[in-house]
Symmetry: C2
Subunit: 205 residues, 2 copies
């Protein structure tokens, strides 16, 4: 499972091309549904050349997931103890919703991995993710104890932010099918709705 350490100019370019192509293909077909041929074609490389940079299909997948993890958690890391509690949480919701809009492929790749048991990243979830969430949950609990926002289970609060925002990336097809083709971009309404939802949940009387 040697992950490539891109050093030369050509290596950097081709590893980048492969990662971009693999993200496209894996996110729309899943790991098993994707073929190396597809990824190679999408990247504009021959199949043996692609396998010159990554030892196997699995290695590309693992590389993508490990790269993705940090990007995915950054918005939560940014939640700041010093800010206004409600503003901080609303801003987090907003950042996550933006990720769903701007990087739906990453969201779907991640969703697919979790859905199928997270076999590649379960250890990461149980350590890095858990400790980050525990830390932020404690922070939020502190705000609640201080009466600065209304009480609610902070872990499930974080889950709810994930599920509500990622829904607009992962279930995009369903959202658009239900709203109808005439409805246009669902994101502005989603943004309003989610702001309302978390404001009413948390704003003190």
């Amino acid at each position: 499972m040697n992950l490539p350490v891109a050093t030369t100019r050509i290596q950097k370019r081709n590893v980048g091309l492969i990662a971009e192509a693999a993200l496209e293909v894996f996110s729309s077909n899943g790991f098993r549904g994707a073929t190396v041929d597809q990824i190679a074609r999408e990247a504009g490389l021959s199949k043996p050349n692609l396998l010159y940079y990554f030892p196997s299909k699995e290695a590309i997948h693992t590389y993508l997931l490990s790269t993705l993890m940090d990007t995915w958690l950054d918005p939560l890391r940014e939640v700041d103890e010093g800010g206004d509690p409600l503003d901080e949480i609303l801003a987090y919701v907003q950042r996550k919703l933006e990720l769903s809009r701007e990087r739906p492929r990453e969201s779907r790749l991640f969703a697919n991995e979790i859905l199928h048991g997270a076999s590649n990243i379960l250890p990461l979830l149980e350590t890095d993710l858990k400790s980050l969430v525990d830390e932020k949950a404690a922070l939020i609990q502190g705000w609640m104890d201080a009466g600065r926002i209304k009480p609610a289970n902070p872990h499930h609060l974080i889950f709810s932010i994930w599920s509500l925002t990622q829904h607009y990336a992962d279930f995009d097809v369903q959202v658009r099918a239900v709203l109808g083709s005439a409805a246009g971009d669902p994101f502005p309404d989603a943004e309003d709705y989610l702001a309302t939802m978390f404001t009413r949940l948390l704003r003190p009387d």
Copy 2:
């Protein structure tokens, strides 16, 4: 795409075994990730025997999805114009959360299908699902206009119920990884949290 019409005793038993096994295998590996061998082994049948009942792997998948659709929409159908608005919506949330607990495999099968473009069921989403949602959204909008619950975008309200409840089935692995193995069943806390969330969102002052 001949779907089997089980008539004899043995047919009923084996079609049932196959459906159960296929649900297990498809939901944990996705359509492409599942093999006919796996399904046959899980069902306790030989591969040719399985293909004696269904003409192809695809046919099994389609059969499962078409059977599933109704089960999945029933809780929304039950939302009743005559009931108390907030109670009706909270009861819907509860029913959906129960489905996530009792039938996580069905939820994941569905999620996987949508995630990969819903190619098998998109027409159903654009017709049956859309009209049901539109009908219930209008009902909810009526309750809001009458001041019986607070205003909020009714379509996105329905989306939020789907995403929040299905999260506990589809992302179960992640939820448990974050809460830790010591935490026990996450569902009771989820139920409380969701009840709080929708009550604060909708209950008139």
